[in-house]
Structure formats: structure tokens, C-alpha cells
């Protein structure tokens, strides 16, 4: 069977798996989610570290870290879009890349299937917040590199927060900051900001992206089996947490602006 040979890199073996260490094996046999969620109640999010302005050659950038999700985002633009036809509104182009070491199983350095679905979700989250009518014929490029991933839902949420911070850092006109939060239904309870193991065990997950300053929802992504009442409850829980995250983002941008002066 022919595999795709990447001439620019030294290709590893076609089939490989991570080694299993003795104590890790013990842990995986008895997953105890309640114990792993130490120091955190079911309605608390993990602490966020957010630093704008880390990549100096980009117009704007941000780095976000929450426990096991680490994403670096850079914004280039608005730049002239050379190849497309005249567009009176600007375009928002989001590209996501997973590094090969970002998850348990090595990801191919070439384009992966999951890249695009995360990019589409983040673009949907940011679309209503940027004043694109101010940039005709232009494109704003947002590049996200996921250094470590803790579940797809976590990546989408953290990615949209990082992207919105980077856009603000770049000084692009926006209606408001976009923040995102994830919730999962485990048993009968709603757990906010679930890790990958918790998402796998959940009946359903929901990602909410909104602009807390304006009270507008920009993106809802739900998957799995949930009743209408559970969806309502998740939306409310996420909404509350999004408002908390908004103050974190605003504080980080303020500190960064002060340090530049």
C-alpha cells in the first residue's frame, strides 16, 4: 500500500504507537473522573493564562494556556486579497494547524482532517464580531498552532478566545470580544470545561461562543444526545462562564497595552 511520502521530511514508520509506561497503565485501568477533577467543582473552569503580543512579526498575536491546551495564535492583516474577485466586505481566513506532538497519537504534519472543522468553528465564532465592512478587498489571516490539545471541544473554545485576543492586539475594529466555553453532560450533571476523558465519557457536549459585552451568541456547536432542558441548562452555564472569561481577556489586553507604553 502506497503511503504519502513527504519529500521534505524524514518519514517515520507508517505505523507507530506511543509506549505505555507502567504507572500510566495502572492509571488508565481505573479512570476516576471525580478524583481527577481535584480542586475544581463541576461548574468551574480551569485557570486561563493569556498573553497577547508574543509573536512580534505578526500584526497581532496571543498565546493561551489552560491546563493541557496550549494554542498560539497570530493575526496578519488586513492585507490585500490578490486572487479573489472584488468583495465589498473583508474576508476572515482562519487556518488551524496541529503540531505532530499535540496529542497521544502522532498527527501527520500534512493537512489533517480535523484542522478544517476546527477552523470553520472558530471562523463562525469570530465572523459577527469583526467589522468586516471597514475592509473591502482585504483579508484578515488568522493562524492558530495547537501545541497541545486536550480534546477538540477544548481546542475550539480556547482557539476562539486566543483568536479574539489576537485580533484586539492587532487593533482591528471589532464590535466586541468573543469568548467561548464548553460544557458536557455526564450522567445527569453538567460539567463545565471538560477535559478529553470527560468529553469521551459524556453523553453530549456543547460549545458556546458569545460576545458577553453585547449579549450576542456567535456560535453554538452541539454534539451527542441531549434533551432540550439539558441544552438550555448548558447554554446558561456557559454564558455565565463566558462573562468571567471576558474579564480575564480584558485584563490581559489592558496589561499588555500598559507594558507597551
Amino acid at each position: 500500500m502506497q503511503s504519502v511520502f513527504d519529500r521534505r521530511r524524514i518519514n517515520g514508520p507508517e505505523d507507530s504507537s506511543a509506549p505505555i509506561f507502567a504507572d500510566e497503565h495502572q492509571k488508565s485501568l481505573t479512570p476516576d473522573l471525580y478524583k481527577d477533577r481535584h480542586n475544581r467543582s463541576v461548574s468551574d473552569i480551569r485557570p486561563i493564562f493569556l498573553q497577547p503580543g508574543l509573536i512580534s512579526q505578526a500584526n497581532g498575536s496571543a498565546y493561551i494556556e489552560t491546563d493541557r491546551t496550549k494554542i498560539a495564535c497570530s493575526v496578519y492583516g488586513p492585507r490585500q486579497s490578490k486572487n479573489t474577485a472584488y468583495n465589498e466586505k473583508g474576508r476572515l481566513n482562519v487556518e488551524v494547524k496541529f503540531t505532530p506532538f499535540s496529542s497521544e497519537r502522532r498527527r501527520a504534519p500534512l493537512r489533517d482532517a480535523e484542522d478544517r472543522s476546527i477552523a470553520v468553528a472558530i471562523q463562525q465564532a469570530l465572523l459577527s464580531s469583526v467589522r468586516l465592512e471597514h475592509f473591502p478587498k482585504s483579508t484578515i489571516d488568522i493562524f492558530l498552532v495547537i501545541i497541545e490539545a486536550d480534546g477538540i471541544e477544548g481546542c475550539v473554545a480556547s482557539g476562539s478566545i486566543a483568536a479574539s485576543t489576537a485580533l484586539a492586539d492587532a487593533g482591528i475594529d471589532m464590535y466586541g470580544l468573543v469568548t467561548s466555553c464548553t460544557a458536557a453532560i455526564i450522567g445527569e450533571d453538567i460539567w463545565v470545561d471538560p477535559t478529553q476523558e470527560e468529553c469521551d465519557m459524556a453523553n453530549g457536549t456543547l460549545i458556546l461562543s458569545c460576545m458577553p459585552a453585547l449579549g450576542i451568541v456567535t456560535n453554538v456547536w452541539q454534539s451527542g444526545r441531549m434533551a432540550i432542558s439539558q441544552v438550555s441548562a448548558c447554554l446558561d452555564a456557559c454564558d455565565g462562564r463566558c462573562t468571567d472569561i471576558h474579564s480575564v481577556v480584558a485584563q490581559a489586553l489592558l496589561n499588555s497595552a500598559r507594558s507597551k507604553v
Binding site: N203, G224, R225
Partner: protein, 334 residues
């Protein structure tokens, strides 16, 4: 999502028509009316289940409308991990270039990928998993490949895809399998030719012996088999096209282009009282508040319920037409 490009004047004309009271649409429908839906099952004889669905086809010459062909093909695969003992579902949507003449091949690939992701993530979720896809426990199982082909697009593609998928899965028959065990032949090298009592002969009542099936055979012919389990659980989708004060269903291409955002909600109606949301996506760039969103989710439940009941009625009709009536017709010919 790309759609027909229309001028601002036409956009505002369509929006004004939708927002007046009574609302006016180009073909005279009300806000919550669907175009005529044509459905036929069993269109691909080599597949295990198939359906062809079109929304809004011109009744005189059969042209126009959104048309989707769905087919299910079952393959045997070895179970590698201890994930699900009973098989796996893989969905794939391909868009024919004739349906999207204005898209480049790169954009067409992206569209295919997006449609596939929505369908695959919704339909392969463990909560919808049918229970009769296993063959030999922990060794072999069925891989259900659901392939959808969009041959024409005139708006409302998500609803058409989910309806066609449900119809094809309803029509699917899983071939029955019988496990086969291999026994080594009795050796003739028993020492001194003594009778080996009770060594190779086992009583049928001996339940201590655990059967280790290593292979299987198919007692059915290829178009027989048992129905795929969990038919009522397969979900139905509705796309609510959002305007500031109202929402409408089943948009044509021009209406989709004049509407800034859409909400896709997928419900599974297992029984009249038990319904759950299987998937939800927002597409577009308009504003939506949380109370408004909750209201839309509730209304979507009513729409999908009526879609699911009429689809089930039609599918049962189709079953009857192909099986019962065909048998009667052949019976009469003798």
C-alpha cells in the same frame, strides 16, 4: 457557505417580502412550508440499503430541486481496539460538480468535507449506534459505509442529506451470519490403539465448553437479511433560516443568499414522548441572543417531529410497495 450571488436589490426585495404580513415568497409558500419532497427507496440494487430524495423537483419534467442519493454498503472488518464490540458507522458526502457549477475544485472539496463532518459526527455518535452490527464478538464486525451523493442543489441541502440518510438506513438489511468453528480432526496415533473415552466426543449438554468462533458464513442471499436495529432513532434535521423577527424553512438558493444566518438543529424522535437533540450548528454572521436561541430550539422540535412522522409513513409505504405488493404481483402471475 457559497450560494447563488445576487444583487443587493434582489436581496432586499426577498427580505422585504419575507418580513411583511402576510409573508410573501417567490413560489407562494408560507414561512414554514416545505417544497414537495419525492422519496424512493431501493434505488441501488447492489447496496444493502439506498434511497433517493429530492426536494422541490419540477413535477412536469423532473428537473430542478435539491437531489440526494444515499446508499449503504456493509463491509466486514477486524476489530482492532476494544472500543465497540458491534461495528462502526462511517459517513461520506460527495458533491457532484454539476450541482455546484460555480465552485472551484478546492472549494468543492471544502464543502464536501464540511457536509461530511456534520453528518459523520451526528450519525456515528454512540447514542445512535445500532446493536446488530457485530459478527463474531471481539473479532469481526460490520463496517457500515453510508455514502451520499448530491447531484443537484437548489437550497436546503442539510435537511435533504439527513432525510436521505435516514431513508437509506431505514432500508438497510444486515445479512445474517452464522459462526463457524474449526475442530482439528481426530488423530489416529493414539497409543496402543486404546479407546479414547470421552476425550474428543463431547455431549451437546456440556455447557462448560466455551465456543471460540473463528469464522462465519452467510446463510442468506444478498438481498435478504435482518433490518438494521434502531430505525426509529435515526435523526431528522431542520435548518431555520433566521431573519431579525422571524424564521423560515426550506429556503431556495436565492432566499439562502439573502438571509445572513441559519441554525441547523438535528432531533431524534425515538417515540412521540422521547426526543433528544443530536446535533446543533450555527452558520452565518447574524446576531442571536440566548433566549431567542432557546425559543428557536423548541420550535425546531415541532418541525422535525412532523418531518419524522411523515417520513416514517412514507418509508413504511415504500416497504409495503416493494415487498408485499411485489409478492402479490408475482403470485398473481402464476
Amino acid at each position: 457557505m457559497t450560494s447563488a450571488s445576487i444583487s443587493k436589490a434582489e436581496k432586499s426585495y426577498i427580505q422585504a417580502g419575507l418580513l411583511t404580513s402576510p409573508p410573501r415568497r417567490a413560489d407562494g409558500r408560507s414561512l414554514h412550508d416545505f417544497r414537495a419532497i419525492y422519496l424512493e427507496t431501493g434505488v441501488a440494487p447492489l447496496s444493502n440499503g439506498s434511497a433517493r430524495l429530492s426536494i422541490g423537483r419540477n413535477p412536469l419534467d423532473g428537473s430542478g430541486g435539491t437531489e440526494v442519493l444515499a446508499a449503504v454498503k456493509l463491509e466486514v472488518e477486524n476489530i482492532e481496539e476494544q472500543t465497540l464490540d458491534g461495528g462502526r458507522i462511517a459517513c461520506n458526502v460527495s458533491c457532484s460538480p454539476s450541482a455546484y457549477p460555480h465552485l472551484s475544485s478546492g472549494a468543492l472539496d471544502d464543502l464536501q468535507h464540511d457536509l461530511t463532518t456534520v453528518l459523520h459526527q451526528t450519525l456515528s455518535h454512540p447514542s445512535l449506534h445500532p446493536k446488530n452490527l457485530g459478527i463474531i464478538p471481539r473479532k469481526k464486525s460490520w463496517l457500515l459505509n453510508l455514502d451520499l451523493l448530491v447531484t443537484a442543489e437548489a437550497g436546503n441541502i442539510y435537511d435533504a442529506l439527513f432525510l436521505a440518510a435516514r431513508a437509506a438506513l431505514w432500508d438497510t438489511k444486515v445479512p445474517r451470519t452464522r459462526s463457524v468453528e474449526y475442530k482439528s480432526p481426530k488423530t489416529f496415533l493414539s497409543a496402543s490403539g486404546d479407546m479414547d473415552v470421552d476425550q474428543d466426543t463431547r455431549s451437546g449438554f456440556d455447557t462448560r465448553h466455551v465456543a471460540h468462533a473463528t469464522d462465519f458464513e452467510l446463510p442468506d442471499y444478498w438481498d435478504e437479511g435482518e433490518i438494521l436495529e434502531g430505525r426509529e432513532r435515526w435523526p431528522v434535521a431542520v435548518t431555520l433560516n433566521l431573519l431579525h423577527t422571524a424564521h423560515f424553512l426550506d429556503a431556495t438558493l436565492q432566499e439562502e443568499a439573502s438571509c445572513a444566518s441559519r441554525l441547523l438543529v438535528v432531533y431524534s424522535h425515538e417515540s412521540p414522548t422521547a426526543y433528544t437533540i443530536q446535533s446543533m450548528r450555527m452558520l452565518g454572521s447574524d446576531e442571536l441572543s440566548i433566549p431567542h436561541l432557546k425559543k428557536l430550539i423548541k420550535e425546531a422540535e415541532g418541525y422535525t417531529r412532523s418531518m419524522a412522522t411523515s417520513l416514517t409513513t412514507k418509508l413504511e409505504d415504500e416497504d409495503f410497495r416493494r415487498n408485499q405488493k411485489a409478492r402479490e404481483k408475482f403470485g398473481r402471475r402464476k
